[in-house]
Structures are given as C-alpha cells and as structure tokens.
C-alpha cells in the first residue's frame, strides 16, 4: 500500500469517529471534562508540594510543570490516537470479532490501531501543550524554532514508545485471553513519567529509565526546552522508540499466528 492510501483510510476512520462523537455531544463534553479534571489532579499535586519545598531532585516548580505538561501531552495523544483501538483489540480477540479486521483490505496492525480516534483526548492535548509553553515562559526560556521542532519530534518518539508498550502488553491477549489489568498497569507505570530522572536511583533507575524508558519519554523533551538539544539523549529516545516498536510489532505478529477465530 502507498502512503496516500494509508492516509485515506485513516481519514475515513477519523471522519466516522467525529460524526459518531457529535451524535453523543453530551457524552463528549463530559469525557473532555473528565480528562481535564485528571490533568488538574496531576498539576494540583505538584502545586501543593511546591507550597512546602523549593525543589524536587533539583527541579523547581515550573520545571516540574513542564515535565508534567509533557507527560500529559504524550498521554493525551495516546488517548486520542490509539487507546480505544488497542483496548478494543483485546476485547475483539477474546470474542472473535477480531475476524472483522483480518477481512479488511489493509495491513492488520494498521487497521486495528487506527480505526477510531477519541476527540476528547485531542481536546485536552492543546491544554497540556499550553502548560508546557506557560511553564517555559515562567522559566524565562525562549526556545528556538529548532528546539520546538526537536521537542515535537521527541513527543512523537514518546508517543511511539507508549503505543508500542501498550501494544506489546495487550498482544498478550492472544495467549492469555484477557488483557484485564493492563489498563491499571499502564496508569500505574505512567506515573513514573512525571518524575525527574534525578529522583530515581538504584533499581528504580534501571527499571524506569533503561528497561522501560518511561522517564526518558518526558525528561528528554523537557530538558531539550530547558537546556537545549543534547544529541546523545535525542538518539537514546529515538533508539528506544525504534526498539520498542520492533518488539511490539514482533509480539503482535507472533500473537496473530496463534489466533484462531472464535466466531461461528
């Protein structure tokens, strides 16, 4: 398939999602508020801690706001693009509805991952970005256009890592028939992305910085805005994204080979 065909399929799915969302406008507003409130909870925690301390692992309040904003931005984009699709995949494999995707004229992984978009996830992404921009302003930073472009590229790498880790764990459904617990696990692990790397030591550093690059996903882009581009860190992020994508795709295709239709 050519790139233009992928784009056309994605646009058709996006259009369907938007039309459907607009049919349930009240629900859309409520879910947008839900996402907004949860963002407020995360920022509220930082605000309260900094009422009583000046620094967390060397990071000041606005540095932390930038870090948390970056984490929320990646999470919002994940919610908007992939969240529903991946969790529906878990359900579909269990019920046999997954056959529907196998019968579609396109690569299975692409069809599974991009069928729907969630507008409420996207709606809060500009707010998360606004937090980052406001924090940069409060810090007196004036990032160059190159820094912003690099930041955007790093956010996409972060999105790829989140997508890949989620796909990796949900693909377990091909073996264990249920992806229950993955959602809770994702949110529990994602909390670590709101920590400064300097706060993690010992085994926590090995697990959350190197093995699962959750901390890198947010710390490297935020540091790029704070201190400029560090090529070594940029390569680390890109490498982690490539590695996790490869692992997730491999896991998905291995699982696909095991899939036997459950429908009649």
């Amino acid at each position: 398939m050519r790139a233009a065909q992928y784009v056309r399929i994605w646009l058709a799915g996006a259009r369907y999602s938007i039309v459907r969302t607009m049919m349930f406008r009240g629900d859309f507003i409520m879910w947008s508020l839900v996402e907004f409130f949860w963002m407020g909870v995360n920022l509220g925690l930082i605000g309260v801690i900094y009422q009583h301390t000046e620094s967390i692992a060397g990071w000041g309040p606005w540095d932390m706001a930038m870090l948390v904003g970056t984490s929320l931005l990646v999470q919002r984009l994940l919610m908007g693009f992939f969240w529903t699709n991946l969790f529906e995949m878990g359900r579909n494999v269990r019920t046999g509805t997954f056959d529907f995707f196998l019968a579609q004229p396109g690569p299975v992984l692409f069809m599974v991952s991009t069928r729907k978009i969630d507008l409420d996830g996207f709606l809060n992404a500009p707010i998360a970005l606004g937090v980052v921009i406001y924090a940069a302003d409060q810090l007196g930073l004036t990032p160059t256009p190159l820094q912003w472009v690099t930041y955007a590229g790093m956010i996409l790498c972060g999105l790829a890592i989140h997508y890949a880790t989620l796909l990796f764990f949900i693909s377990l459904v091909f073996w264990i028939q249920s992806a229950k617990g993955v959602e809770g696990g994702y949110f529990a692990l994602n909390e670590f992305s709101r920590l400064p790397r300097e706060a993690l030591r010992g085994i926590a550093s090995i697990v959350f910085v190197y093995a699962l690059p959750l901390v890198v996903v947010t710390n490297v882009p935020a540091q790029t805005l704070r201190h400029g581009l560090e090529p070594r860190h940029g390569l680390w992020l890109a490498g982690a994204a490539a590695l996790w994508l490869a692992l997730a795709v491999l896991m998905f295709h291995r699982g696909l080979r095991r899939y036997t239709s459950a429908s009649s």
Binding site: M30, V41, T53, I56
Partner: protein, 268 residues
Amino acid sequence: MSLAKYRHAFVLGLQGNLVYRWNFAVRASLSLLHLAYVFILWGAAFTGQETLAGFNLSQTLTYFITILVLQFFISAMNEDYEVSEEIRNGLINQFLLKPIHYFSYRFSIFVAARLVSGSLALIPLLLALPLLWPHLEYPTDTWTYVAAVPALILSAFLQFTLAYCFGLLTFWFLEIQSFIILSLAVETMLGGQVFPLDLLPAPLYELSSYLPYYYQMYFPAALLTGRIATPEAAIQGLGIQLFWVLALYGVAQFLWLRGLRRHTAVGG
C-alpha cells in the same frame, strides 16, 4: 428473619467476589507500583529538609501506606456500575416484588466485597512489609484509634452511599461512566489520596473539611496517622461525618423513590 436475608446476601457477596480474587490480587500488586512512585516523589521532596508541614518523611509515607490499605477495605470500587447495570438490564425488577430493601441488600454485598478485596490486598503488602516497615510511624495516643473505629465505619458507609447515588442516576441517564470517573477525580484530590489535605493552604483545608470527600478517606487515615491533632477535632470531625452520612442517605432514598417513578419494568 429480616436480617437473615441480608446475611445470605453477604454470603453470596463473599462467594461472588472470591471468583474475582485474581483481579483484586493484581490490583493490589499494581498499587505497590503506585507506592513506589509515592516513595520516590516524596523522598525527593523531603531532600534537604526534615519536615514538611510539620510531618517527617516516615509520617508522610505512613499516611500513604494507610490510604492504600483503606482503599481496599472501605472504598467503593464497582458498586456504582453494579447498581447501574441492574437498573439498565431490568434485574432490579425482582427486588421491587420482594420484601427486600435494595440499599441494604447492596450494602451487604459491598461489605462482603471489601472484606475479600481488603484481605487479598494484605498479601502483597505483607510481602513488601520488610521494605515498608522502617517507614511506618504511627501515633501512640489511644484516642486516635478509638476515634478511628467509628470514622472507618462511617467512611465505608459514605463511600458506598455516594457510589449507590451515582448508580441510581441510571434512572435518568443511559450512560453514567463519565459521571463516575469525574467524581473519582474530585474524590481522589479532595479525599486526600493524592496528597495529605493538611498540605493545602489553611483556608482551602478549612473549606475541604466541610465537604463529604474529606470524610471518605482522608479523615480516618488522618486519625490513624496522627494528623488530627486533638480529641476535640476528632469529635467535631465525627459529627460532620455523621451529618454527611445521613444527608447522603437521604439523597439516596430520594433518588430511589423518584427514580422508580420513571422506571418501566418490561418483560414477563
């Protein structure tokens, strides 16, 4: 005789919830990840200072460990969805024809569910106890524990009643999940699950102490961890907590009666 039926509901609740023992165990294990995050964040916040708002690091970590345990023993988890599903699927009709008080029936199952989830949550916590033990610092005043007993019972009642009220909204709305998650965000913040509420600026803390969320989780946890300073403050807190329990029970009864007027039982 009238209590026997709720005892049976309790036993059925125990059996039903034991089926989901692995779900609870997984959930409890994941909460240890959250605890690790809390330890790292607050450990970093305490670097270079002995106390934060008058409490040291161990006291703060003890607060979060207590909150985590209480969540599995007194929090409402799926009760709102269960009530909602019974209304939506028409399963509630059977209770309308029988001499059973629906609130008490659901509450019996809630107590059974928390007994199961609380007991299972203790397993990973006990396994992690060697790591947690050095950070545990509980108060030595007896009155805090005496006051904590009614506070815990009232908190469980408050948690359940609020969830029950949200479930009853299904009489008016087809989809209540967004209401529940929205309320959860507010409860998480104002219930002291994200940070101890006494870290809030004084006027905001004062304001929060008049809201029901304060008594859902923070109040019993604060009593157990020595964050409520005097017996007078504890008695005042228990009074406000009792008020909210009665008020929310009144709201629940009102929603039930008004909801039934809108309800249509279909089928044979």
